[in-house]
């Protein structure tokens, strides 16, 4: 069975080899960053799937993956046909898209990383199309943005690359820690941007992460995902203490159950 890593065998080269030998089957790309498959039949691509995407969009996305394990399952029949013959199988088109991906020098190779928007980003300084994108990036992984952005995979990647180049966004590795459900509790005082966690939970996360981290709050209907500087507090089991100002600012209500997880600084 043909298997390896896209870092050693770029996808375009693999596909060209399959076309030239006329072999049929499925080229399966294993996660991370996502599960993908390209079905080849009689020297033509007939179907592609990448996460939630299918067809030409899926193939475009897979062309941008620079590092992932793959295997070729010979004679594996396609579940459906999503790419018309004479379309994407044109080698020139594949090479063109691969070239476009290669020109994106600032987009990280690891698409599982989580995006963080530079808090100082000012919308006025950005191209007209990007403020909207910028607003939706915080806390999402790169692959999630590329998969779900309506504008098109390559267009989204190019926009992201531009934002990385300009320093508007950065990416941090996603921590493999499950979100914890906590109940919001009001704290009184003048501080802002600080969240208190029960001491044992804070220490557990500190031990697991071993470097500076912040916490992200999700799962409420307010202003999207929020980040706070975590601090430990005794007698705080199952609670998340937030200052009044932050509760008002983000329209959070005490007693609300939220998902909380740590992210690297």
């Amino acid at each position: 069975m043909l298997r390896g890593n896209l870092a050693d065998f770029p996808l375009v080269g693999l596909l060209q080899m399959l076309f030239s030998t006329g072999r049929g089957g499925a080229l399966v790309i294993e996660p991370p960053p996502l599960l993908g498959s390209i079905y080849v039949h009689a020297g033509q691509i007939v179907h592609a799937q990448a996460g939630e995407l299918t067809g030409a969009r899926a193939l475009t996305l897979l062309l941008g993956v620079r590092r992932a394990s793959f295997r070729f399952e010979a004679e594996s029949p396609p579940p459906m046909a999503t790419i018309e013959s004479g379309g994407f199988q044109t080698q020139a088109r594949l090479a063109e898209e691969a070239q476009a991906w290669q020109s994106l020098r600032h987009l990280p190779e690891d698409w599982t990383q989580v995006l963080r928007v530079n808090p100082k980003a000012r919308q006025g300084d950005l191209p007209q199309s990007e403020p909207h994108l910028l607003q939706s990036l915080e806390g999402r992984s790169i692959v999630e943005v590329l998969t779900r952005e309506a504008a098109g995979v390559l267009e989204a990647a190019q926009a992201l690359d531009g934002l990385f180049a300009a320093g508007w966004v950065s990416a941090k590795p996603r921590l493999l820690l499950e979100p914890t459900l906590l109940v919001v509790l009001a704290l009184y005082g003048s501080e802002e941007g600080v969240a208190y966690l029960d001491e044992p939970l804070y220490l557990q996360w500190s031990r697991q992460i071993k470097q500076g981290f912040h916490i992200r709050i999700g799962g409420h209907s307010g202003a999207g995902d929020l980040t706070f500087i975590p601090r430990p507090r005794p007698n705080f089991q199952s609670r998340l203490g937030l200052y009044e100002k932050d509760l008002r600012k983000y329209r959070l209500v005490r007693g609300t159950q939220v998902e909380v997880w740590p992210e690297l600084d």
Partner: protein
């Protein structure tokens, strides 16, 4: 002078007008020391208690939630005194008594806040996750630096008074009231009521604070629902007279002309009656409720203090509604209305449901029963403070036996003595509240600066 005469004398001292002014002064000192917290921070208090009602099942680990602790305290506080006691106060002091009752409540809120806060601050936590607290602990631990063993002695005295008073005012009086109510409404023989009360109380208190809290969480809404069913239809019946009743309260309380015209005696009777309800109905200063508040697993004592104020607000609402109903009915002016219990029965004859006597009986029975269970816990905590954990089950057994015999009656002398001891509980408690007022103020300051609670070290 025999024992009962001495008791009667002491009772007049601890529940007399002078004693009531002491309660008021302590409430005033705490109100000032805490920066009028019950008024200035009312929004926070409401948001932390009634506004956090959906968090009632969410504690911070440990035994019972802050809400449950407050329910245990309310189960004890909102009792027959809120109903028959309020009617008695108006019969004795007239409409102006309500004004003085309100004054007692307003200042008492600071007292109850301080009690609940100190109870959590000085409570003892044990390795099995249980806690114990209340005035005996803030007396012994809080006053240790100032009085050495004197604080422990005062704490011991408080615990002794509470342990004995629980058998009388917390058991005999309450079980007797349940027996009377069920006998008058349904002709249930007192012995049967006694057996039923003893079995149910035994089952509840046998489960410790967790089961008591679960019961309180059930009985308090039942009490409030029954009170609403009892009072609101009567208020509707007498709705036209409510504005006049409110006018009478202020006119009577502020009638200084009558005072100058030689009606000093009746004016003092009005103050005495009103303050009696404003202080003793809600138990602020007596030191009983903090024993329940100490059980709350909470991140900061001040947060439980807010529940102390909420308890007062509930109590105030109930007594005020009862008072308005009675005043609007005009019964208080009628000749030959009789004693307070007789007046209550007459009042309920006008109940639009036509079964006012049954509603009254069930309400009184529920009020008394809830009070009884919480007082069993207060007494048990007092006894365990004095004699150790081993006393808990014997104390519970004794409480159950007394609950069995209480409806049969004939324990007037013991009830009188226990009533006096209940008043005695206030003496060390009020002293501690005055001396520890700066500490409570410091805790409040720290809480509103967002600082964590630092429990005291021995």
């Amino acid at each position: 002078m025999d024992v009962l005469a001495i008791n009667a004398l002491l009772n007049r001292v601890v529940f007399g007008l002078e004693a009531k002014f002491v309660f008021l002064v302590v409430g005033l000192v705490l109100t000032v020391a805490l920066g009028f917290i019950q008024f200035r921070r009312l929004g926070v208090i409401v948001s932390e208690t009634l506004g956090a009602i959906r968090e009632r099942a969410q504690g911070f680990g440990g035994q019972i939630t802050p809400f449950q602790a407050a329910m245990v305290a309310i189960a004890a506080t909102v009792g027959i005194g809120h109903f028959v006691g309020m009617i008695a106060a108006i019969l004795a002091g007239g409409p102006g008594a309500v004004f003085w009752m309100w004054l007692g409540y307003l200042l008492g809120m600071a007292t109850k806040f301080a009690e609940a806060t100190l109870a959590v601050h000085f409570r003892r936590s044990y390795t099995d996750g249980t806690v114990s607290g209340g005035p005996m602990f803030y007396l012994s631990r809080g006053l240790a630096a100032r009085f050495g063993r004197g604080g422990a002695l005062l704490g011991g005295a408080f615990a002794l008074f509470a342990a004995i008073a629980a058998f009388g005012i917390g058991n005999l009086s309450q079980a007797g009231a349940v027996g009377n109510s069920l006998q008058s409404a349904f002709n249930v023989p007192p012995a049967i009521t006694g057996l039923g009360v003893a079995v149910v109380v035994g089952l509840i208190i046998g489960g410790g604070i967790r089961r008591i809290a679960a019961f309180a969480q059930f009985i308090v809404p039942v009490k409030l629902l029954l009170l609403a069913l009892a009072i609101i239809p009567l208020l509707v019946v007498h709705a036209a007279q409510i504005p006049a009743a409110l006018g009478q309260i202020f006119a009577s309380a502020l009638n200084l002309q009558a005072l100058a015209g030689g009606a000093l005696g009746s004016y003092i009777a009005m103050i005495n009656a009103g303050l009696g309800r404003g202080i003793f109905a809600n138990e602020a200063g007596l030191g009983s409720a903090p024993i329940a508040h100490a059980q709350a697993q909470v991140d900061h004592p001040v947060r439980q203090g807010f529940w102390g104020v909420a308890e007062m607000l509930v109590s105030l609402a109930v007594t005020t509604l009862v008072a308005l109903t009675f005043l609007a009915s005009g019964l208080w002016q009628r000749e030959g209305v009789g004693t307070a219990p007789q007046a209550a029965v007459t009042l309920f004859q006008a109940h639009p449901s036509g079964v006012g006597d049954i509603i009254l009986a069930l309400t009184l029975a529920a009020l008394a029963f809830g009070t009884m269970v919480s007082w069993a816990f207060y007494g048990e905590e007092g006894a365990s403070y004095l004699f150790g954990e081993g006393i808990r089950w014997p104390y519970r057994m004794a409480f159950v036996v007394i609950a069995f015999v209480a409806p049969i009656g004939g324990f007037g002398a013991f009830i009188d003595v226990s009533d006096t001891l209940n008043g005695f509980m206030a003496i060390p408690n009020l002293l501690a509240l005055l001396l520890l007022a700066p500490l409570v103020a410091q805790l409040v300051r720290e809480f509103f600066q967002g600082e964590p609670w630092r429990p005291p070290k021995d």
